[in-house]
């Protein structure tokens, strides 16, 4: 499955791919975190037949439903597939770094290019945490990106 990323200046970013059955679907991520799931029209492949607006919470729910919590099991394969991808587990320190603050506060992605793909808190796993997710001391964070990006993000998170 090949996912195409397109920047939408002033709006956000769009990812799209064609399913094996031939339907083209896309996800628009707005700058404020809202998501839209779009299904393209087969007769006019440039236009959307359907647009489903999802709040941050609904998107997270959708991910669960689609089996996103298995994300960690797939990481090994992923690292194998994408050369240069670095994946790192970071434990949030008791104080300092981003302890007690939200992901948005750290602007990890904006400042380093790395992404927090999941969060493990005790027994619970939080896949695809939203920007308003608070990082608590002891949380284990799964970071993904290039080597340099992950390293920079590590410094931000650990303080």
């Amino acid at each position: 499955m090949e996912v195409f990323e397109t920047a939408l200046p002033g709006i956000g970013v769009r990812h799209e791919f064609v399913t094996r059955a031939g339907t083209r679907i896309g996800v628009i991520t707005r700058r404020d975190g809202r998501r839209e799931l779009v299904v393209y029209d087969r007769r006019d492949p440039d236009s959307c037949r359907d647009i489903v607006e999802l709040s941050a919470e609904e998107s997270a729910g959708m991910v669960e439903l689609l089996g996103g919590s298995r994300v960690t099991e797939r990481l090994g394969d992923l690292r194998h597939d994408v050369e240069g991808l670095s994946i790192q587990w970071i434990t949030i320190p008791a104080a300092g770094g981003l302890a007690g603050r939200t992901i948005e506060d750290g602007q990890i992605r904006g400042r380093t290019g790395a992404t927090i793909v999941a969060l493990i808190r005790g027994e619970r796993s939080i896949p695809g945490p939203g920007p308003d997710q608070v990082l608590e001391p002891g949380d284990v964070v799964l970071l993904m990106g290039t080597d340099a990006a992950v390293e920079a993000a590590e410094r931000l998170l650990e303080g």
């Binding site: 939408l8 769009r14 007769r43």
Partner: protein
């Protein structure tokens, strides 16, 4: 400022007139919403009605409206700067540069030539070229949302053209502002040079130090953030005006310099203020236009509407085809770019403020009135236009 208000009339009449103008805008905005046209043309009409020779000329509040209109331009431009990050502005330069150049040449030329044909000075003709060039990013953004086209595959093409126009404005505005201010050729060259230098320095600095600037401005409190961003914007805009770079350029650069959370929240916080003051700006522009000059301006304005609707349509069509978009998508991209609006008026407003005596104001008013209404109408029928241009595949009727 209080002294100025009192000098112009009693505080009571100022408030009454101002309140009446804002209420008028509110009523017109609702009407625009109801009949499905953008509010800008109706705001312009309101300005014509309350101006010299209009239905009910304002007396006391002209001074305040003049200041409000300056603030309106500043807020329009800072929001334009905030709309795109510098990465978005320059990221597409390589891939979309050609589309940007085609858009520029195809749409500036008609205005420029028309100005020269009307016997205007070259500078005023360049201003008219700017008026016919810039699509209204405000109206286009609303149309994309309204028709559910944000996810469409032709939308990145449309957005990239808007971004390129933004970038062109960052060069165009300081040049014309410099030329309008300078007296002789040497002085003009100096002020244009200074303006362009400032723009380059600020853009380079904002790309290098954007995160640091943003962190310095950032605060948890919405109130403090609003005060900081607004204060910074007005201050820099004023300083830019003082060193003859034009407040519009200064404000735009402030917007470009801010990024991340500050830009995000700044947009949210400034939007209502921008709407109020931009409304006042449109009214002010309208009231400076003598309604008696509209009739003679109508013929050249309509000729420009026809020509530049065609050139913009062609630009959008070509750019979309280049990106591999089908006929229907090309029709949507071509029509959605047609509306001209706020920035055409900003450009003409620069000329009017600098005392250009030609019909620039009245022609621009007619021109924007027409295209701000006809553009959205055209894109509403983009589906039909696309169907007409694209023979439907066998066995699929148009009604299906």
């Amino acid at each position: 400022m209080i002294a100025a208000l009192v000098a112009a009339g009693t505080a009571g009449t100022v408030l009454i007139e101002l309140g009446a103008v804002l209420l008028l805008l509110a009523v017109l905005g609702r009407l625009a919403d109801r009949i499905g046209v953008p509010s800008i043309p109706l705001y312009l009409l309101a300005g014509l009605a309350v101006g010299e020779g209009g239905i009910h000329p304002l007396e006391a509040s002209q001074d305040f409206i003049a200041v409000g209109s300056d603030i309106g331009v500043v807020l329009l431009l800072v929001m334009l700067g905030l709309e795109y990050s510098s990465a978005e502005l320059f990221g597409g330069l390589r891939t979309n540069g050609l589309a940007g150049v085609v858009d520029l040449v195809a749409n500036v030329t008609p205005g420029l030539v028309a100005g020269l044909l009307l016997g205007w000075s070259p500078l005023t003709a360049v201003l008219l070229g700017g008026v016919t060039y810039v699509s209204s990013s405000g109206i286009v953004a609303r149309l994309l949302e309204e028709f559910g086209r944000v996810g469409n595959r032709e939308t990145p093409v449309v957005l990239s053209i808007l971004v390129m126009e933004d970038l062109a404005m960052a060069v165009y505005l300081p040049i014309v502002a410099g030329l309008l201010i300078g007296d002789g050729p040497v002085e003009s060259a100096v002020s244009v040079g200074v303006a362009l230098l400032v723009v380059v320095v600020v853009i380079v600095a904002s790309m290098r130090f954007g995160p640091q600037i943003t962190r310095a401005v950032d605060t948890e409190s919405a109130e403090l953030l609003l005060l900081t961003v607004l204060g910074l914007t007005l201050l820099i805009a004023g300083l830019a005006e003082e060193i003859q770079v034009s407040s519009a350029v200064g404000a735009f650069l402030v917007g470009v310099s801010l990024s991340g959370r500050v830009a995000e929240q700044g947009r949210e916080l400034l939007r209502p203020l921008r709407d109020v003051f931009a409304g006042i700006f449109f009214v002010f522009f309208g009231l400076q236009v003598d309604p008696g000059r509209l009739a003679p301006a109508a013929a050249p304005a309509l000729a420009l509407v026809v020509v530049t609707a065609a050139t913009k349509f062609g630009t959008g069509w070509w750019a979309a085809r280049r990106a591999g978009i089908g006929v229907r998508g090309r029709a949507r991209a071509a029509t959605v770019l047609l509306p001209r609006g706020e920035f055409s008026i900003v450009i003409a407003g620069l000329g009017v403020a600098a005392g250009q005596t030609s019909d620039l104001g009245s022609i621009t008013a007619c021109y924007v009135l027409a295209l701000a209404v006809l553009g959205p109408l055209a894109t509403r029928f983009a589906g039909a236009i696309g169907d007409a241009l694209d023979r439907p595949p066998k066995g699929v009727s148009a009604a299906a």
